[in-house]
Structure formats: structure tokens, C-alpha cells
Amino acid sequence: MPSGQTLFDKIWNRHLVANLGPGVDLLHVDRHLIHEGGGPAFRSLAKKGYTVRNPELTFATADHAVSTVPGRMDDTTERSLQWVPALRAGCAQAGIRFFDLNDAEQGIVHVIGPELGLTLPGLLLVCGDSHTCTHGALGALAWGIGSSELEHVLATQTIIQHRPKTMRITCDGALGRGVQPKDLILSIISTIGAAAGSGYAVEFAGAAIRALSMEGRMTLCNMAIELGAKFGQVAPDDTTLEYVAGRPFAPHGEVWDAAVVDWKMLASDAQATFDAEIPIDASLIAPQISWGTSPEHTVSIDGLVPDPAQAATDEARKSMQAALQYVDLQPGTRLEGLRIDRVFIGSCTNSRISDLRAAAGIVKGQRVAAHVTAWVVPGSQAVKRQAEAEGLDQVFRQAGVAWREPGCSLCVAWNGESVAPGERCVSTSNRNFVGRQGPQSRTHLASPAMAAAAAITGQITDARKL
């Protein structure tokens, strides 16, 4: 056995079907997840005369195009009607398990994968969605693919990949009181930049990561792509095993025991070397809020909108100027106290039960500011059931927060749900891109606690002060 391998290398090498050239391999895909965007692939494949090779290894759900209004059906919106039946039909024909609109397992694809035990440590998992890096939180090798690749996976159960460089981001120290995993990842992105991980597979390590719950690790890995990295991973440990044990699709009995032995060997070896090493002191991080149109446009809650004149490059200056114009903010403005119109708590970044608990903890016994529309969109039916069992839905409803059905909702203006032009939304999602939440929408990325605090005060607020 070669010593000094990284977690990434170990999983990659395990999946090698054939080497295709220097640095390019044909890899086996253990799990393939699809959402509505994968619907057209079935017809395209058939047209080319190909069939689905291993339908039992692909799982589908509806999340991107669905309505999240209570009582929603296929035809609640035109958008949903355009996409959901097509995916359902494609899956039925190919023999792929589809978690349908109101099934007990339905939810955002990156929430249900881990939740159902479809995502396991050491697996190679792909999905036609860039936030597939989320699944790396369990120690899987997971990344987002395009639609040509999606067809390739359906037809061959393999994928052609170029081996990336490796980067380790070591987060030492402990997160402070009221500082959430979302703050940690936003802070990392703003510190090293939205392109810093381009060409790399990132492993998050260090005491602050080991201390995170699985859900916190998912929030972190979810946004690896916002660092430019297709892959984000955390080595499996006892927290991982505890999380996976007993999940519906997870192995059990003797197979579980064998799997655990296998998974315990996945962690990067002590002698492993990475192409880049980045140290982060987690104890210095405050709650974060984004101000612009890239996740790297983020500052601490006591921060000011930066001045493009201070930008390092001409290119960066122009991008900052364009961003400021779009979000209608002046350099030097304090973010704390900025009036907002909308709050969205949801998305594959922050729609899990711990996220909803954090938000509920802030809104309990309070009222949403009169001028604010606030939504909570649970990430899955299972999260919704759990939250309702804990009475969180009541906490939100009594505060005047809308409690909705699982889906991507306001994270992406695909499903007919959007933030109106000019409105300012504090959002727990992962992208503040131009038009992401709807044409001319202005997004401020934040943690669930920060989003909940903004809902109550009607302005950007340090959640620690409530």
C-alpha cells in the first residue's frame, strides 16, 4: 500500500475503471442523483440510441421546479407542470426510483441524499447540480456535472474526470458563541476568494471541523463550489458513522460492520501532502453578511461596504463597482441596520433541522417586522415532519413567518418563486449572483440565525444581540 495518500486520492483510486491518458481517468459512479434538470436527458439518450445502464444506482427527486406553497401539486405552477411530469415519466421508463412531489422522501436533492443514507462515506456520487459537493461532508467523493456528463453517467455508469490538485483548509480554534458553520464558510470564501479553489479538491480539516455536526459539515462542503472548488470533503469519523447508522438506504448488519471497517481507513494519512495548505483560525470569525454579487463579497456583521478604489486589480475594481450599482449600496455603508424586505430560510445550504432550530430560537415569541415577508422552506419532507414534531412550525407561524413545502424555492428563480425587482433579501442560500433570486433581486447571504434576526428587526442585525 502506498503511504501518504489523501482522503481524496484513496477514494479516487478505488473507483478507477481505466486510465485514459495523463491525469485523466474513467471512474465508476456509485450513486447518481437527478432532479428536474435531468429530465431532458432521457429523451436525448434515447435519440442517440443509448439506454440507462444501472437504473438501480440512480435516484431522482423533484426540487428545483416545484412550487413550495402548501397544498402544491404538479399543476400549481406552470413551471412545475413543465418539468415534474417529464422527470417522472423519464424515471418510470428507465426504472429509476423517483421520490415524487409529495412522497415522504421528497426534498432538495442534497438534503435527501445524506438523509436517506443514499450518500455514504467513500462513495463516488455525482449529480447535475454544482452543489453536489455537499455530499463530501460524509467523506464521499461528490461533485456537480453538466448535462452531457449526466447522459454519459446514465449510459455507462462511469464518468471521465481530470484529477484535480488537492487543497487542505485546516480550521483550528473553536467557533465563538452565535457563530454558525455558514459564517465559517462565508468567512473562508471572503478571505481567500471565490476563485481560490479553482482546479482543487478541498478537504476541510482541523479541530473546528471535527467539532461540527454532520449538518454543519454539509453547510460547509455545500459552499466549496463558491470557492471555485468542485469538491469539498470532510474525512469520516464517529460523528459521520453515528449520522449514517440506521438511515433507510444505509447498510445494516454484517454489511454495515464491513463498511465501517472500510470507512475508517479513508482519512488522509498523516504523511499525505497537499498541493496547497490554508490555515484558518475559527475563533476569530464573527457572524458574516454578504454585500455584493459574489459570495466573496462578504464582511463581518460589524463591517462596512468596501471601496472599489481599494481593489487589488482593475478587474476586481470593475466587478465591485458593478456589484455596488446592482445592490444599490455606497462604499463605506454600515451593513448592520440596512433595511431589508424579504427573508428566506432554506436551500441545500441551510434548510436542515439544526438550521431551523437555530432560526426558531431567534424568532420564538417575537414578530416579524411589519414590512418584511419571511419564509421558511424546509429542505425535505423528513425535515418538515421533524420540525413539526418539535413545534417549530408553530413558532414560525406565530411569529408571522410562512411555513412552506420542501423545495429549492427562493434559492433559484426557476420555480416561479422569486424576490421582486429591487427587493433586498437576507437569504440562507449560497449564491448572491445577479438575478439569482429573480431579476433585479438583491441578496445578502447569511446564517439561519442572522436571517431570522433580520426578519424580526426588519434590518440586517447581529443575531448575537437578540
Binding site: 456528463e149 447522459e151 449510459a155 455507462t156 439569482r436 429573480g438
Partner: protein
């Protein structure tokens, strides 16, 4: 897939950082117009058009008002088939439509200091050549493109792995060999991979013994 061998033409300088796939192909517009015929019109919509009060949601289909400040709307760059872009071009989502839209606008070659990784991959699947060059080189190209007008012809030669700039300078670029070959030949990757069916079957057979939990997923 359309082959790519050499390309000569002017280059449009779109030197902004982090131009993401939501700017290249806004989801709202894509799902309204579909990914087919109109996808080229959608490209860069937030930068490219000015939406007036009279415009309905389908304004892009009805001669939308162009933003004259946007470089891709200006002559001679409307004729460009090469796009010079800033750092992290195409970051964001995995949507392959972003590449389709750019290809539909007529661009076959993109040159930037770095690209969003999924977007980069998607380019190769659609006969579009993305080239990574150091930022100062791309900035030089942008300057040559701006000052040279229609005279500023670039030649991109994939076979030789070389760009000839309007100044006559030759700049080498690297493309990973399998991708290069796929582009030069316009290969069907699925067909090629299926020629390895026995290797895939062997892998699975062996792997089923070693990692049974991967395959035992048929819970009802």
C-alpha cells in the same frame, strides 16, 4: 459534436471577474424561453439588455433594448468568435446551457486567467475551446483587441497549441491531450466509453465483492 481545429478572428474583451452562470444564462429567462432556439439571445441578458417599463416578461423575443455600454454589443466585437474574459469566468452552477448560449452567440474559443471548473468541462463537450492563460497575457490581448478594431485578428490553432496575436506574437497554450483529441475529432464520448463495457463490468463484479453496500440499495 462540432470539431475545433483552428479559428481566426477578432476577440471581444469582457474583462470582468467572477462572471457567473446566472449572468450568462439567467434561470428565469431560460425556463421562460427554453434551452433551444433562443438560448443565444438570453446570453448575458443582465449585462446586455436594458429592460424598459414597457417590456413584458418575454421582452427578449421582441427586439430588446441593448445596453450600448456593454462591450459585446459594440462594433466590431459583435462579429467576434473569440471571447477574452476575466478570472473565474463561468463560475456558479453546472448548467450546460451557459455554454450553449455562448456558443449560440458565435463564440467558439474563450480565453481567461481561470474558469469555473464545471463550466470549463462543459465547454469541451460542446465544441468550445476554453484556454487558460496568465492574467497579464489576457489583459494584453484585451488591450490589442480594444485598440486594433477589425484589424486585430487572433488565430487559435489547437493542433499546434498556439495563439498568434495581432502583434504577430506566438503564445503557446496547453490543453490536456484527451480533451484536445476529442475536440479535434469531434468525438462521441458515450460511444467511446461503451467500447470499454467489459472493463466496466469487470470493475463492478470485483467491487460488488469488496463493497457490497454500494450495490445493495434496493429498499422498497
Amino acid at each position: 459534436m462540432e470539431k475545433f481545429t483552428t479559428l481566426t478572428g477578432i476577440a471581444a474583451p469582457l474583462m470582468l471577474e467572477n462572471v457567473d452562470t446566472d449572468v450568462i444564462t439567467p434561470m428565469e429567462l431560460m425556463v421562460t424561453y427554453g434551452f433551444g432556439r433562443h438560448v443565444g439571445r438570453i446570453a448575458f441578458a443582465p449585462l446586455r439588455y436594458i429592460k424598459t417599463e414597457h417590456d413584458g416578461p418575454d421582452f427578449i423575443l421582441h427586439q430588446p433594448t441593448e445596453n450600448p455600454e456593454f462591450v459585446l454589443n459594440q462594433e466590431p466585437f459583435r462579429q467576434a468568435r473569440i471571447l477574452l474574459a476575466g478570472t473565474n469566468f463561468g463560475c456558479g452552477s453546472s448548467r450546460e446551457m451557459a455554454v450553449w448560449a455562448i456558443a449560440r452567440m458565435g463564440y467558439r474559443c474563450l480565453i481567461a486567467p481561470s474558469f469555473g471548473q464545471i463550466f470549463f468541462n462543459n465547454c469541451f463537450k460542446n465544441g468550445v475551446l476554453p484556454i487558460v492563460l496568465p492574467r497579464p497575457v489576457v489583459e494584453d490581448f484585451a488591450e490589442l483587441a480594444r485598440s486594433g478594431g477589425v484589424e486585430a485578428q487572433f488565430t487559435v490553432d489547437l493542433n499546434a497549441g498556439e495563439i498568434v496575436s495581432p502583434a504577430g506574437e506566438k503564445i503557446a497554450f496547453a490543453v490536456e491531450p484527451t480533451r484536445r483529441e476529442a475536440l479535434l475529432e469531434g468525438l462521441d464520448e458515450i460511444g467511446l466509453t461503451l467500447q470499454r463495457e467489459s472493463e466496466i463490468a469487470d470493475f463492478q463484479q470485483r467491487d460488488r465483492q469488496e463493497r457490497p453496500w454500494v450495490y445493495a440499495v434496493a429498499r422498497e
